[in-house]
Symmetry: C2
Subunit: 345 residues, 2 copies
């Protein structure tokens, strides 16, 4: 058993963990371990948005960003996913990860210009980037042998960690929690830069990517997941997408991961939150997530250790200067635009 | 909005609350307020135990304890409840509350001798007492107009309090949590005193009485409670009674409150725990309580503010010298006896 907080990020505590030192989680979980030399990671979401059939520009844009990713300074790993948003628009988001901010910065300046610097016909584009210090970030995996998202760029997985399977574990896994309440500071602001709309975030804004992978399930387990768990998860994701703002969820996307030529058996929810506390409150006590948690618990206690469903998440609580949000030709409720005053079309 | 911790019990903090200062609970709850002069409360459980039909001695014992309660120095309030335990024995427990330890002590010495000082034919008797400093104790009520249990002896109810409707609220309402992790110390020990068996508890042993009152519900709400919630609650109570020890629950009784001449529409779970942390873990993440929580949440969100079901609890984390457990002629898994090495019949 090891701490989710790596030794080199341990700091004197002014705040306590939520569990006693002799706490034993009831089942194993694992976290991504970066090389100690990694001080920051970068997670960058490059989206396209369109209505109905994909316009010609969509194919071009997807090829273009893949080409940029493959170029000098590109990410160590990226993946792509699709969802239909609350306005009925199709969105395809290519998510890329770096473990070297200098490399990212050099790569990003021209990539940004290419992506949100010119309007494409019938196509919106957007960029959402976090570049957190590693002390502002945590991950959690139900099994150690298939990293997803940011964990793919890590050095490897931990052994079994202590800080999980209780409410508050997410906070306790973030190294900054040792001495910081991570309270949110300020409100998001809209910045108009011609047709480009930027959102200036605020201190301790929070991002979660929470994933599901049922590709290894046998037919009976797959049916149980798709019939009993997935609809409840979808209902919760829809709630956050449509009504999340009142509880501090700025935006939510329930994404289906795209494989090379097809739709994969992987999904994830990606949501932006006013604070880690707001995310905690929803997860712990909102009826929509209590239902998700109950369905997942019933599923996992029915299947026991034979369950082949894989679950993971990554959570970041970002400083204001670690955030970047830019939207071009997107509808006014796209991503963090939904968190600021309504923008005219 | 006020703190559950009364002003005169505020101390410098070395430990943080689990929620930010601007946290707003999603619905109102209330706590009992004692006069500031009250430094300790006493909760004393006087039980009888028998097999099958009530023996003659049972009626006599119930009259006797009621008489003692009515005598000089007796409790400010008491109630009585019934349950069938894991050994199939009938148990009737008379629970009494004091807000003056000196008065209790003077009353208790002869009452104890009367209750567990002599064997009654075909009848077991037991006493379980806590006398906590008020800083080691908290209550919670869904409505402020019908106190139950220890709250009946309080000066009144608070206004709406902040520290509830999140996991960790129970701990945050206990004044001692401001600077103490309330970790358990030691293990319970059996002391044989002739036929009397005493259990010596340990520091920070925890008691919860968690009650339900459906007496005000209209037929449709009553049906919903009894059909959809009560069976799930009972299942969780049975789990704690039969299999709780492995997760730190020493004993659990799911009690039905007895009215003057009949069975009331009130129940409560009463359980002894190794620590507040063990109780927290069960409540937050054990499948049996997750089901209870899910059923209650579904019920309350279906009914909304029109729900007439009343819920309350009282929780104490007691110092070692605030505890007293004594059993005479009871089966060896009665109450805290279940927490110590098996005792020969």
């Amino acid at each position: 058993m090891e701490s989710a907080i790596p030794a080199h990020l341990e700091t004197p505590r002014t705040r306590h963990k939520r569990v006693p030192d002799d706490y034993q989680p009831p089942y194993p979980s694992f976290v991504a371990r970066y090389k100690p030399a990694v001080s920051r990671v970068v997670m960058a979401y490059f989206g396209i948005q369109y209505h109905g059939e994909a316009p010609t520009a969509a194919t071009g844009a997807l090829k273009e960003i893949a080409g940029l990713f493959a170029g000098v300074g590109g990410p160590s790993h990226w993946d792509r996913a699709h969802y239909v948003d609350q306005a009925g628009r199709e969105n395809i988001v290519s998510v890329a990860y770096w473990d070297d901010v200098a490399r990212f910065d050099a790569w990003f300046a021209p990539a940004r210009e290419a992506w949100t610097g010119r309007v494409r016909e019938d196509l919106g584009t957007f960029i959402e980037v976090l570049r957190p210090a590693v002390a502002r970030h945590e991950t959690l995996f139900s099994s150690p042998d298939r990293p997803e998202g940011v964990a793919v760029i890590a050095d490897g997985m931990s052994g079994e960690v202590q800080e999980h399977a209780y409410w508050g574990g997410m906070r306790d896994r973030i190294p900054l929690s040792q001495a910081d309440a991570m309270a949110p500071g300020g409100a998001p602001e809209l910045i108009r830069d011609g047709a480009r709309l930027r959102v200036k975030g605020h201190d301790n804004l929070c991002l979660i990517r929470s994933g599901q992978d049922w590709s290894d399930t046998e037919p009976s387990e797959r049916k149980l997941y798709l019939d009993d768990v997935e609809p409840v998860l979808r209902e919760g994701m829809d709630f956050l997408r449509d009504d999340g703002l009142a509880i501090g969820c700025y935006a939510n996307r329930y994404m289906r991961v795209l494989a090379a030529d097809s739709v994969s058996e992987k999904s994830y929810g990606q949501s932006w939150w006013k604070s880690l506390a707001a995310l905690e409150r929803w997860a712990e006590s909102h009826p929509t997530h209590v239902k998700i948690f109950g369905a997942a618990m019933k599923y996992l206690s029915t299947l026991g250790p034979s369950a082949k469903l894989r679950l993971y998440h990554e959570v970041t609580v970002a400083a204001a200067d670690e955030q970047f949000f830019e939207y071009l030709n997107c509808h006014p409720k796209t991503g963090m635009l939904a968190a600021v005053e309504t923008v005219g079309a």
